[in-house]
Symmetry: C2
Subunit: 457 residues, 2 copies
């Protein structure tokens, strides 16, 4: 299948009870509280591989949502992003029960030492045999920073400069320290690695000092597949420089299209092929054999939604305590950046409408801030095809709105329909995650990516 026709899917998860929506864990079929159990993750991985998904993408939440009523009480009651487990540690178990599924894992670089972080990613690329990706996060909530010894949160734009240097260090370790052919494994000569082909990286920068050789021999992909999700101006520029895959969020395809075009321009300005950056829009799908059944399922899911949980989440995102506002008065334009951001998000979708906090919380009930498609497999496939064309994207990050039924429904019902239409592959065509992103044979980072300049020849 030519890759320009193919729609790609990633499963979107977080190792917590309630990720993007509040209250749905109360549904009798929800298994989201089993995020702590190994079999929850291995079963999930098997389902996604059965559906020929490119990858499982796991978000992370280092901070507790504690703005609503000035405490974490409501988010604890809701299991809303707290408690949360470390997303890297279940990967090897999922790799053991799959052959092709990739794993895009979120790690905040600010709280990592590049010398050890590079080893973590290479270890996972070894253990998965080339199926690891990294969702680069540059920030964290204030509540996280306080507990991580950074109550002086680095200003937003400065964070990208620190992260740029972090990227430089890890590129040097992954691409530049061990040449191809450095590992000889010659039993007769007694040479495991040829020291002439292993190089100290000699990095001494403003934020990081890493003089030595990389601790790990190269893995199949060397640099993991690089994802990014920021959509601020600084975030778009960063994605244009570094991201191979971009996770994007918008209520309508034309809104997403503007973000996509912006990042592609930045990639071009950075000397990269703008089509080499692949875009995945967040999407919630509720499907059933017929449209009527799907609508009934959607309404049933929605009936478990928690308005107060969504207000707590909204407060965490905006950093404004929504409990202090009148829930039934339309939100006014405000100097508060968080409120501006939310209003911009909603007015982009419909400039004429004014939203109250309660209406926003209700809107969030099943799909958070993103779009939701409800319908039979043919209706869903029609809508996804339309999205891909209009937004100029390569695929979707599918929200696991009701684990395990929502991924199961999609794999059983929508995937066969997309395969019939020639819009999904019937099987993986490469072995590594990067080959799923590009095409079979492209295991290593592309030559026009900045990481490639650190290769030795």
């Amino acid at each position: 299948m030519t890759s320009d026709r193919r729609i790609r899917f990633n499963g979107f998860k977080c190792s917590t009870v309630a990720h993007t929506t509040a209250g749905l864990w109360r549904h009798p079929n929800s298994q989201s509280h089993r995020y702590k159990e190994l079999s929850f993750w291995t079963d999930l991985a098997k389902t996604l591989e059965r559906g020929k998904f490119d990858s499982l993408f796991v978000a992370d939440a280092l901070g507790v949502l504690d703005v609503y009523r000035g405490s974490p009480d409501q988010t604890l009651r809701e299991g809303l992003q707290t408690p949360t487990d470390d997303p890297l540690l279940a990967v090897s178990a999922m790799a053991a029960v799959t052959q092709h599924l990739g794993f895009g894992i979120t790690v905040a670089s600010l709280y990592e030492l590049p010398y050890l972080f590079a080893r973590k990613m290479t270890t996972l690329d070894h253990l998965t045999d080339g199926r690891i990706g990294w969702n680069i996060v540059t920030s964290a909530l204030d509540s996280a920073a306080r507990n991580l010894g950074r109550d002086d949160q680095i200003p937003h734009d400065e964070r990208y400069a620190v992260t740029d240097e972090f990227m430089e260090v890890v590129y040097k370790l992954w691409e530049g320290s061990w040449e191809d052919g450095a590992v000889v494994h010659d039993r007769a000569a007694g040479i495991y690695a040829d020291p002439a082909k292993v190089h100290a990286i000699g990095h001494k920068g403003r934020h990081y000092s890493v003089p030595g050789i990389f601790l790990c021999e190269p893995s199949r992909q060397r640099t993991p597949v690089l994802y990014q999700a920021g959509t601020s101006a600084a975030g778009r520029a960063f994605a244009g420089r570094h991201a191979e895959g971009v996770f994007i969020s918008g209520q309508r395809p034309d809104i997403v299209r503007r973000l996509v075009d912006g990042v592609r321009s930045e990639a071009k300005a950075a000397g990269r092929d703008p089509r080499s950056v692949k875009f995945f829009a967040i999407m919630t799908v509720v499907t059933a054999p017929s449209d009527a059944e799907a609508q009934a399922k959607f309404q049933e899911y929605k009936s478990y939604s928690s308005i107060e949980g969504n207000l707590a989440r909204l407060s965490g995102i905006t950093q404004v305590d929504i409990s202090q506002l009148d829930l039934d008065q339309p939100l006014e334009y405000s100097d508060t950046p968080g409120i501006q951001g939310i209003l911009a998000n909603f007015t982009k979708a419909d400039p004429t409408r004014r939203w109250t906090p309660r209406e926003i919380a209700d809107f969030m009930s099943v799909s958070s801030f993103g779009p939701v498609v409800v319908g039979s497999p043919t209706a869903v496939a029609d809508r996804l095809e339309q999205w891909v064309e209009e937004a100029d994207i390569e695929g979707f990050n599918l929200v696991d709105v009701m684990p395990p039924a929502s991924f199961g429904d999609f794999v059983d019902l929508v995937v066969p329909e997309l395969q019939r239409r020639g819009r999904m592959w019937r099987d993986y065509e490469g072995n590594t995650l990067r080959e799923s992103l590009y095409s079979a044979g492209q295991e290593r980072i592309r030559d026009d990516h900045p990481a490639a300049q650190y290769r030795r020849r």
Copy 2:
């Protein structure tokens, strides 16, 4: 079986090519270069569980051995502790193929943020359902510190003070933040966790500031089983305060006995039952159906040893470039602490003998600095029984001298002999690692351990 009769075994590994011995990877049957592959670890875990081992203990090496000839060249040629992968990341895969085996993983606390480190351990305790242990390491080689942004290595004794505060923070997170019963998971009432039972730890110390609540709900063991391996005076006191299991190294049981007695005294001084600290001596076993076959196997293994590799390792440990010395002149007492330490180790075993560097490297060939037992299953069992009595220890850390044959031989030959003698259990009697260490029912840390004071009632 009464636990005082039982001899316990841990498999001792490092995620590298050559761990404690140099050159043996060249043996045609050695699979040690497969440390990068998932199936290497899952097969290993299954072998240890078949042999009813308590746990797999994984060491770590963050620094490159670069003292010998002033470069890492020889250690790279030998695959000697470099390259090395992250030991935490294969655990979930091994947990997925076992039911009872524990995992004692080495992590250097100096390079971890306690808020995130506590989450890693709790995540693994969740995914393994109570089978995780942590080998607390307070130091790293100079070569590691330079790459981790700490070229000002903290002085040895000060390191234990920093680590004591680190322990206080993680105890508060593991034991004190979430009460028992905090997780309600009441779908009808819409309460996942009861905020009245989740507490901010409010830690503000000299080295760490962690005001908030723990990100994770409690795991089965809460605090992972705590191991330690230091044998300096400060290290013994630290082990007496914190360790539930101590890894110990000595060439003869009477030498080990002195170390054991020292740590037990420290434990008693810290208000703990001195018998609640369990000791595991490093041990290499080469076995075969008959003594003659075992001796032949030992000589064959030895023939693959690399003298120069062992000198490079010795240089890394002593921080003295042994290549500058006459290899055939006995080592003299020296002001260099590293040389003093090595001499002390060897003269303890035989005060009359003077050792040359070449003799030391030869001694290290199969068993590193520890003891080696070579013989038939009955001879090995006799010797291990004698060791346990004389050294007053609970068991052994068994070196994986020739993967996968050495653990396989031990499990197939020696374990049944020890079981016949009533010195090894025929099956696990609890579910968690701590129950293996103590007895069924003891999932949580003991009441006389300092972590217990942070519990809320």
